[in-house]
Structure formats: C-alpha cells, structure tokens
C-alpha cells in the first residue's frame, strides 16, 4: 500500500515537472529566441570599462555589447531585439544555466573546468586577452617582482584569481590578494591606493587607467602573466546556436579582411568583388538558410555594427578614449592572430 502510494506520488511528480523542464536546455535555443523575438545577452553589474559600460543616460555600450548587438542582428535582423541582462562575473554561469541569459559575451576565458564541470560550450575565441599588472607609478616598479609583498586587487570569480596565484608562486613573489565582486569597488580601491596593483585583463587595465583621475599615476607593467583566449559561451547541446555565433565572429573578421565597412557595405552588396563576398552578403542564396537565418544576415550585421576592426576602434581602440592598440587582436596579415574561417 505505502509502496504503491510512493510510486503514484513519484509518477505524478514526474508528470508535473517533465512538462516544464524543457526550455532551459531546449534542444533548439535558436527557435526559442526567434519565437521570443529577443536575445538575452549579458551586461555587467555596473560598468566593466570598454566592454560593457553604462553611460549617463543609462544605455549600454562597449565591445561585448557590440557583439551582443551583432548576434541579435544576425538572428533577429535588428539590434533593438537585444535585451541586456545585468549580471556580475561571479553570477554569469548560473545565469546561463538558469536560462536568464541565452549567451554569455563577457570576455570569458576558455578553461577546462568551465568546459566540462560547468557544462558550458565555448565559441572560437573572439578576443585574445593578455593578463597584465598595473601598478602605481610612484612605486617605481619595473616588473611584477618589484612589487614583492604588495596588495593586488582582482575581480572576484574570474580566471585572474588563479592566474595571479600561479604566476606569483612560479616567480616566487609574495603578495596579498584582494577580490571584489563589483568593478566600481575594485577601481575605487585601486585609485585610492588600497592596493598597490591591479592584476587583470590588459584591455580592462588600460581602460581603468584612462578613466583614473590621473592616468599618469598608474603604469602597466611589461610582464604578461598569461594569455587568455576569450570565447562566447552557450549551454552544452546548443550546437545550432553555437554555429551561428562562430560564423558571426567569422563574418565580422572576413568583412575586415575584405575591406567591407559599415559605410561601403551597400556598394559591396551591389557590386560584390568576389564570389565569396557575394555569398557573405547574401547576394547568392544559401549561406543563411543552412543555419536557419535569413541570407542577408551578415549584411545586416555589418550594416548595424560594422566589421571587427570598426567595433574594436569604436569601443576600445583608437576611436574610443581608451586607445588600445590592436596587438594580437588584429588579422593574421596585420601582425595579429585572428582569421576568418572559409565560407564556401
């Protein structure tokens, strides 16, 4: 009697729950996004300078936000279909697992435990981030070893915490770590001199420096602690969605390689210089359809956000106040290590 009752309860519970589990790990997220007609992409809990920041009018901007816009345009045809969900570094993976966001575009390093234990899937790197250390100029440090015994501030819940611990142990430098959940607190602590140095992602450090009350007071040291490839992250099993992301990144790079810009994309579409460009811009049909997109998806993306180089310039490069050199994040033929895939 009790036994059968338990079975009954169990069966009812399964019936009750199995109806609903689906969406968070829906086999085809792409369809869900189209049905919802909006893309849920990560922002930041505050401002992560250069990548996801809030301006005085409360609008999102930055390198990662541009990629969110590009993705929304590729799938839904318009950047207005993008919904930016504010989320901290520490809460980005739970947010993805819970379906609060569809995708994480938040300079996320590709690590093994994230790939396996966390059940995530990474796109090909869309950005290569070297980890540097920025110190107060007045300390006169030339390298990290000169900061022996100093206080190092980091973002909590990022790969930096581990990279720093590794680097310091290998190089036998003693230090005191101080981790912050929010970028604002981290920066304030550094500007005030609570820490001697910030360890982190190079571009973020440059942005922090430019934003400082007196940029000259801070110096980025030459030692590269580690090079981290940053990927766009989706839940495991979202193969179709990941395809779209990989090809979107590739299309942005291909556009730069071929000299297609936001300004000339209409001309290029009218007179494609090569069959590949013809395919890329959807003049000859088929390239969008195989991924479940419209054929002119890449055209829309470039029209909206420009090519990879334009995005870079506008948000963190020469066109922005951060003036970051392209460095490794340039095309292979310009001294960088980025390259488009083959579009056939």
């Amino acid at each position: 009697m009790t036994n059968s009752l338990i079975k009954l309860v169990g069966a009812a519970a399964i019936a009750l729950s199995s109806g609903g589990v689906a969406s968070a790990q829906d086999a085809n997220l792409l369809d869900t996004i189209k049905e919802r007609d909006s893309l849920l992409c990560t922002g930041h809990n505050g401002s992560y300078l250069g990548f996801a920041e809030v301006d005085a009018e409360g609008a999102w901007q930055g390198f990662d936000i541009e990629f969110c816009k590009a993705l929304a345009t590729a799938i839904l045809g318009s950047p207005d279909k993008l919904q930016v969900i504010p989320v901290s570094f520490a809460q980005r993976f739970p947010a993805l697992q819970s379906g609060d966001v569809d995708v994480i575009i938040k300079v996320t390093g590709w690590t093994q435990s994230r790939d396996t234990d966390l059940g995530l899937q990474f796109s090909r790197p869309y950005f290569i981030g070297p980890f540097y250390t920025m110190a107060k100029t007045e300390l006169g440090a030339q390298s990290i070893a000169d900061l022996d015994g100093g206080v190092f501030c980091v973002n909590a819940g990022t790969t930096v915490e581990r990279v720093l611990a590794d680097y310091m142990e290998v190089n036998d430098v003693s230090y005191e770590p101080l981790a912050f959940e929010k970028g604002e607190e981290l920066r304030a602590a550094f500007y005030n001199g609570r820490c001697d140095a910030i360890a982190g992602f190079g571009p973020f450090l440059s942005a922090t420096r430019v934003n400082a009350p007196d940029p000259e007071a801070f110096t980025i040291l030459g030692d590269v602690m580690k090079l981290e490839p940053e990927g766009i992250v989706v839940r495991q099993g979202q193969d179709d969605f990941l395809d779209v992301i990989n090809w979107m990144v590739s299309a942005l790079l291909m556009a730069e390689e071929a000299g297609i810009t936001q300004a000339n994309v209409d001309d290029m579409k009218a007179n494609p210089p090569s069959p590949t460009i013809e395919r890329l811009l959807g003049v000859s049909p088929g390239v969008g359809e195989r991924m479940g997109l419209s054929d002119d998806w890449a055209y829309n993306v470039i029209k909206t956000v420009g090519n990879y180089g334009e995005i870079y310039d506008r948000t963190i490069g020469d066109g922005s106040r951060y003036k970051l050199p392209r460095g490794l994040n340039n095309l292979w033929n310009n001294g960088g290590i980025l390259y488009p895939l083959v579009l056939d």
Partner: protein, 378 residues
C-alpha cells in the same frame, strides 16, 4: 455523537494526509526536475570537489590558507571570518548600545538630543550604504609611506590599522578564543558555588597561562616578543593589521546595530517598574547601587528576547561584507560557486552554516534568558 466525532477526526486526518501528500509531491517534483536539469546541462555533482584545491587564495583568514588549500578549508576559513566579524560586532554594538540607551534616558536634554539624533540617523540608512561609506573613508587614508603614526605603537594608513602584536604559534588566535570561551563557561557555571576569588583566579589565570604558553611556543630566536609596526619598503611590517575591509564592515555594522540595540535596552530601562526603584531608595541604597542591583538587571531581563533577535539579525547582516571584498562565508561560497560550478552543494553548505550559527546564538541567549528570568514568571 460517536459518528460525528469519528467523522471530524477523519476529516482532520484526511486534510493532514492530503497536505503531507502535497508537500511530498512538491519535494519529489523538485528532486526530479533538478536531476533532469543537471543531466541535461552536463553539470557535475557531489561533494567530491571539497577535496580539490581551489587555485585561488583569500585575502584574510584566521587560519592558514593559500591557493593550494582545498575548498573545504577555504570554506571553513570563510565561516570563521564571518564568526569573527559577527562576534566583534555583537560585542562593540552592545557596548555602544548601552551607552546610547543611557544617553537616551538621561535627564540632560543635550545628551538626550545627541542620543536621539544618533539613533535616528544611523538607524534610517541602509547598513550596506554605511559599510560602503566607511570603506571609502578608510581607503582614502594616506598610503603606508605617509601613514599616521599613533605614538609609535600603532599605524593608520589605507592598508589598515596596524597594532602591536605578540607572536603566537600558528592558529594561536583560534586557541586563545577557545580559551576565552572556556574561561567564560567556567565563570558562568561556577557562579554561586565557589568563592569569587577562586573563580576569577582560575578563569583569568587560565587565560593568562594559555596566552603565555602561546607566546612561548611561538617564540622564534631573534624575533621580538612584542612586534611593533614599522615601515618596510612599500608596506608596513610587524604588528597585526586590521584590514580596511574588516574594519569598515565592523564599524558599519556596529554603528547601525548599536542604534537598534540602544533602543531595545532603552525599552528595557523604561519598562522597569518605578516602584521597585523607589523601594530601593526607601531601603537606603545609593543611586549607583540602585542602578547596578535593580535597574540594569531588570532592564536586561526585559530586553533579552528582543536582543536575541537583534543579535541573530546582526550575524546575518555580516553578509554585506561582500560589498567591500571581505572574504566572509557568503563571499567565499559565492566565489567557489563560480570557480567550481557546484551551485547546489555550495548553497546547501551556505544555508546549513548560517542555520547552525544562528541557532547557536539563539540557543545560548535563550539559555541565559532562562537562567536570569524571575522564577515563576515568564
């Protein structure tokens, strides 16, 4: 008659059975859903990760931790950090609270005004904001090189307050804290049984002996027994540092908590029956004696239940340490979740830790309440 009774009893049983069934259904449903979600998303489960090393260190801990420590150890360190801040807060907030209560019931209008202003200001601003504020103030102090030196024994800079310290054996502070707790228990349980001199002698002597023992065991030839802070290169060496994170958190919580505790104790003071005080006066007791023997004990008795709640509340409020980068239990668990991905397991640990902590406080406070309340009355 019998049938009505039976049917009423049956109805009650049926309702309760249905309720239990519903709860069971919900619980089983949750478990099943969780399992499906975890399998579908390929998330690892189990407590095995506790044995793995974290790869990241934390900024402050009363026990030794490093990037090579296991998750279990770093989580324990977080729990101890929470307890440290919690107990410091409870202690100082109570002291300040008593002072505030006395100000608030003072006959002096100015003192009353100061007390009232304090309570209204500090009680009506969110504690998170206050902690943010104090942290900003502390980190805007000058750097180590320009540190304010207080008579050469303490130094004040944006790296924290450095006080002179004794060199203990490893984890010496933990042993000392345990010793103090043991002495406190000894004093408590032996009261009214043996003479005061013996009790105090054994209690304080024990703590002193432990202290000396820890210093002797920790002594390293060449190092000074009392370590004073001094500037060494970029930083201040020697002594013991109260870091700005912890200091700001404790200051914020104390100033906020004291406003509430003060009000609770004031309530207790007011609740004391005036007749009892007059009786004391009639017996020829001095006003100091009246305060010590009648007013304060009765006021404490009246305010203990509310104080218990406030203490539990303050202990929970330590979680705002996250705001200033203090590695408390919540912050450590939050980082662990991010680094290991074991959300459910870590959350269970988080909740379990707080429940144990808060029930312990409530248990101790209720025990005290039971001991001191007037027998035969509630």
């Amino acid at each position: 008659m019998h049938t009505i009774l039976a049917s009423r009893r049956f109805r009650r049983a049926a309702i309760q059975a249905a309720f239990v069934g519903f709860i069971l259904l919900v619980l089983v449903g949750l478990v099943v859903t969780t399992q499906q979600n975890i399998v579908a998303q390929g998330i690892a489960t189990g407590f095995g990760f506790l044995e793995r090393t974290t790869g990241w260190p934390i900024n402050f801990s009363v026990i030794e931790v490093s990037a090579r420590s296991t998750y279990a150890r770093i989580i324990l360190a977080g729990l101890l950090n929470t307890m440290l801040v919690g107990f410091l807060t409870l202690f100082f907030a109570s002291v300040l609270g008593i002072i505030l209560a006395l100000l608030r019931v003072s006959r002096n209008t100015l003192l009353r005004l100061v007390g009232t202003t304090y309570v209204e200001v500090f009680r009506n601003i969110p504690v998170v904001l206050q902690v943010f504020f104090w942290y900003a103030v502390l980190t805007h102090l000058p750097g180590p090189k320009e540190a304010h030196s207080l008579a050469g024994v303490a130094m004040l800079s944006n790296r924290g307050i450095v006080l002179p310290s004794f060199t203990f054996v490893e984890n010496g502070l933990v042993y000392l804290a345990l010793g103090v707790v043991a002495a406190g228990l000894w004093l408590w349980f032996t009261r009214n049984r043996i003479s005061r001199a013996v009790r105090l002698g054994v209690g304080l002597g024990g703590v002193a002996a432990l202290f000396v023992g820890l210093v002797v065991l920790g002594y390293e030839p060449g190092a000074p027994i009392l370590s004073l802070p001094y500037l060494k290169g970029l930083r201040i060496a020697g002594g013991v540092t109260l870091k700005p994170e912890m200091t700001a958190l404790v200051i914020g919580l104390v100033l906020f908590g004291a406003a509430y505790i003060g009000e609770i104790i004031r309530g207790g003071l007011i609740a004391v029956d005036r007749g009892k005080l007059e009786a004391g006066r009639a017996l020829g007791l001095s006003s100091f004696q009246i305060n010590r023997l009648i007013l304060v004990p009765l006021a404490l008795r009246a305010s203990l239940p509310s104080l218990t709640n406030q203490y539990v509340w303050l202990m929970k409020a330590t979680t705002v340490g996250l705001a200033v980068g203090y590695p408390d239990y919540f912050a450590v668990i939050s980082t662990s979740i991010n680094q290991s991905g074991q959300t459910l397991e870590l959350l269970a640990l988080l909740m379990g830790g707080f429940i144990v902590l808060n029930y312990s406080i409530a248990f101790v406070m209720n025990a005290i309440n039971d001991r001191i309340k007037i027998k035969g009355r509630s």
